[in-house]
Amino acid sequence: MGPPAGDDQVIPVSTRFHSLARRPGGVSREQALKSAEAQLGTLRPQFADWLDRELEQLISAIPTGQDEASSDDPWLDAAYIHCRAVRDVGATMGFELLTFAANNLCDIIEVVKAGVTCPFDAIESQIQALLLARKEVARALLTGRRV
């Protein structure tokens, strides 16, 4: 903590967002959440197709029959992009397991990019976990249940 600066100015700010968002009318919290959950439900069938494409691209980005990788291998970036995409939306769509497995794989890729020896067996395990989570998505869509 430095000495008192004394020249910091505190300025009241009112933006267009602040004035318009508080207008009368609008949507109640309960109504907004219910409507958003219903909307996400309608997106689930397309989500399964998108997920298939992302997993396919992720798996094809990872080299097979290789037991070494350097931290600047281009496949790491390619795999990370697809893995991060799955991680960022899985739980929002109701599939926490997808996000969990994708997050683990992201962590592995990050440490490899930081210079740690590439654990290909751990990557393979996380890919298998993602494929299992994908089956859970298919089951949920078939039965219409919320995971």
Binding site: M1, G2, P4, A5, G6, D7, D8, Q9, V10, I11, P12, V13, S14, T15, R16, F17, H18, L20, A21, R22, R23, P24, G25, G26, V27, S28, R29, A32, L33, S35, A36, E37, A38, Q39, L40, L43, W50, R84, A85, R87, D88, V89, G90, A91, T92, M93, T99, N103, C106
Partner: protein, 193 residues
Amino acid sequence: MPRENLNLHGLNFLIADSNSYFCMICQSILRSFGATKIYEARTAMDVNRTLVEQRIDFLLCDSNLPPDGGLKLTHEIRWSVASEYRTIPIVILTTDTRINTINAARDAGANMVVAKPVSVSSLYNRLAWVAFHPRSFVDAPSYFGPDRRFKIEGYPTGVGRRKSDQDSGVTEESGQAMGQDDIDSLLNLARKG
């Protein structure tokens, strides 16, 4: 959490994220909340252009936005002295919720941080918080952005760093101190009503 309704109709939202599928999901959620005008940006350059062209009112920005990340972009927006968007509400979206990242987002001038993957309720709560709890901006030599003080529980050195801060130290003793008998009799009176 405020009980009032959020009225997002007609406000211009900008979602800045390199993942188009994430943006699409975010758009759906915001539309369910009543937003009608939502734009997307994939890079910081897109953001800077869209801010001006579409007169954006609220920015949701990924912390990994290409090329240099959402925190650097937030810092640049806050330090664009001549820009009318300098005080725009900015919410940072991030998967990295470590305290260092949250502090960095706060110090860059973000209004709020939302953890990814976003949940419908967390997004609504943050929007409502920003709308119903507007914060003053602090203009200091090393910081421009929303007041980072959410509550004052005394200053570390007993003296605030701003001119407007009141001294929170213990004041000088004045008058005669109360004895234990005086305190007991006061408490007894209070108990008897």
